[in-house]
Symmetry: C2
Subunit: 364 residues, 2 copies
């Protein structure tokens, strides 16, 4: 079989232990003769700060560029919270996104039938929810220049960040959203604040142009971010694909994640553009954080990281059958009432991180 | 009795008809000898565009400056949606906020017991909810310079907006939030994105300094905006007062409003600083929009505008007893099962805009 190079970055907190469960699943796929993985491990975030003094070592970046895909556990924790802005663990995450050109962040918000009760929203509002939020990830106010804090002659200080988008940046993220929608419900809702921010007036204009010129079948709508955030709470099932800026996407994708009530189940993918040789960088990671409070206690839910790995199979390796197999195994496990603590329900069987891995492997 | 000068801006859509109900309540207070109002009417938004060509006529601004408080119905509608950015109805609203220096937007998110079922969230998550969101309203990315869209030499276009805050702007909004919290649960959660945006690093630093130097009794916490938006969905009752930037506040206050399930019930206040004579500009308006689809049909819920008026009584006129009287009348009306269409529930009595006004007046 074809060799896939995967860089694994276990990261901080529960990162390493959830990653161990993914490695077992990778092993199963190899044993089944479906694929050969060449796995390298690297450091990012707090783990990298402790070992090297900085959150994104050069070796990690080099290894990422040499790999076909990167799988990340989780980054950060209170231990590194008081570090200065420039060397916080987050810098590692932002750095790797930027250096690999991972401009498209795919954040599915899906409610598993077996877990629909876990939401704080009423059952009928969220049951069957399946939204895909496409967040621009390497532009906007996250990276815009000029930025910083300056002291004015009179002693007051002034903080500045710049929200910047150019037409090619808008078009390429729009394409990702519309391509995804073509394989789903063919509906894209572009979220902006075009009644206040000129930068997002441009965003809206380019989305309209793109749809008209290249995606006649897509039904494109526009929503102001304040309204979008209300509509996610009022009736999330109205959405198919949403596409938005880096900052708005950060907020809305987390709102949407929380609607599902089970953060421990949600994966994400961050994709770059294909280069001349058709190679496209990609990083996959769970939506949840590093949960240092439960780290190392066999309590963490490995499913979001396993599902991030199935996104890797789909988007980087075109291994749809294997992705389906794993996802069906997860469904079966959930339907059988097997739960880690974070998704525990009355009458279900509570298991640890390793046992959840066992259960998924058994169903495969 | 003391004469209070009120500028009434009915605005667009359902604005005029909900305002009529407030005028009746103002009349009742006058008849009861509690106060004398000197009311002027003015134009803002779409109504102003139709009459004068622009969304904020000079006369409106002059009248606003000459008044003790402004009450606004609602602004905007599809009729004016396709106007260029610079002359949209929203420009009127942003213009009046800026010209009057209304930097503090108070957005209570309160769930009335009788209406708790209306939320899309589970009853126990929202019942008894009472949050106050304090949004900075005249700074940040809404007004920051430079801004605009430019075409680069190679033909690509670039959109730019600037997020700017200075220390005095941060301190004055922080004070408003902390003063409010002192009369409530003494807890303030400041929302920022200090792990990414330097401007909000400054925000956080100034909030900490303010609390330490002037509000030792306040329990100040900090949350990143993505997490805050999740926490609002997960467990909104953890919050007392939240304080945040203009853009984040736009999003979070609407999320919080939607948690209540009854947008038609939510008021807001926008306050300026007191000048040398102790005069402070203030504008009160419901959170809901102009709802052009139901305008003029006696269907709109006037309660949010009536509650905006009670905020005026509290914050501009120090008429606490009268504000309590009206709010208690509203509670009684709701408990009696009287409902406009937007908050209709099984078993309740559906009434129109005017009848809701009647019902409140009857209970007063
Ligand atoms: C950790 C932080 C920098 C990051 C972001 O804001 O992008 C996180 O919230 C995310 O969404 O991946
Ligand atoms: C209409 C719009 C400009 C306004 C804003 O973004 O401030 C509105 O959403 C609000 O919150 O009052």
């Amino acid at each position: 079989a074809d060799v896939k190079k995967v860089l694994v970055l276990p990261g901080d907190g529960i990162g390493p232990e959830v990653m161990t469960q993914v490695r077992r699943i990778m092993g199963w796929l190899e044993d089944a003769g479906k694929v050969k993985f060449e796995v390298t491990e690297g450091l990012l975030g707090g783990a990298a700060i402790d070992a090297t003094g900085g959150p994104m070592p050069d070796e990690t970046l080099t290894a990422a560029k040499a790999s076909d895909a990167v799988l990340l556990g989780a980054v950060g924790g209170p231990k590194w919270d008081d570090l200065p802005f420039d060397i916080k663990p987050e810098r590692g995450l932002l750095g790797i996104r930027k250096e690999l050109g991972l401009f498209a962040n795919l954040r599915p918000a899906v409610v598993f039938d077996a877990l629909a009760e876990a939401s704080t929203l009423k059952l009928d509002v969220v049951k069957g929810l399946d939204i895909m939020i496409v967040r621009e990830l390497t532009g906007g106010i996250y990276f815009g220049q000029p930025r910083g804090i300056e002291t004015l002659p009179d002693g007051t200080r002034k903080g500045l960040n710049s929200l910047v988008y150019t037409t090619p940046e808008i078009t390429r993220i729009g394409k990702v959203a519309m391509d995804l929608a073509m394989k789903r419900g063919k509906k894209v809702c572009s979220v902006d604040k075009a009644n206040v921010l000129e930068c997002t007036v441009l965003w809206r204009e380019e989305m309209i142009k793109l749809q008209q010129e290249q995606y006649p079948e897509i039904e494109l709508s526009h929503m102001y971010v304040d309204n979008a955030s209300m509509q996610l709470v009022r009736n999330p099932k109205q959405f198919d694909v949403m596409v938005t800026t880096n900052m708005f996407g950060d907020i809305l994708s987390d709102t949407a994640a929380m609607l599902t009530g089970s953060l421990g189940m949600l994966p994400s993918a961050s994709l770059g553009d294909a280069d001349a040789n058709g190679k496209r960088y990609a990083l996959y990671e769970p939506v949840h954080g590093s949960a240092p409070d439960i780290a190392g206690q066999n309590l963490a839910n490995p499913l979001a990281t396993i599902l991030s790995f199935t996104m890797m199979l789909r988007y980087s390796f075109d291994m749809m059958a294997e992705a389906d197999l794993i996802e069906q195994a997860i469904q079966t496990v959930l339907n059988a009432g097997i739960r880690t603590g974070d998704i525990m329900q009355e009458g279900a069987t509570k298991v640890g991180t390793v046992e959840m891995g066992d259960a998924v492997l058994k169903e495969m």
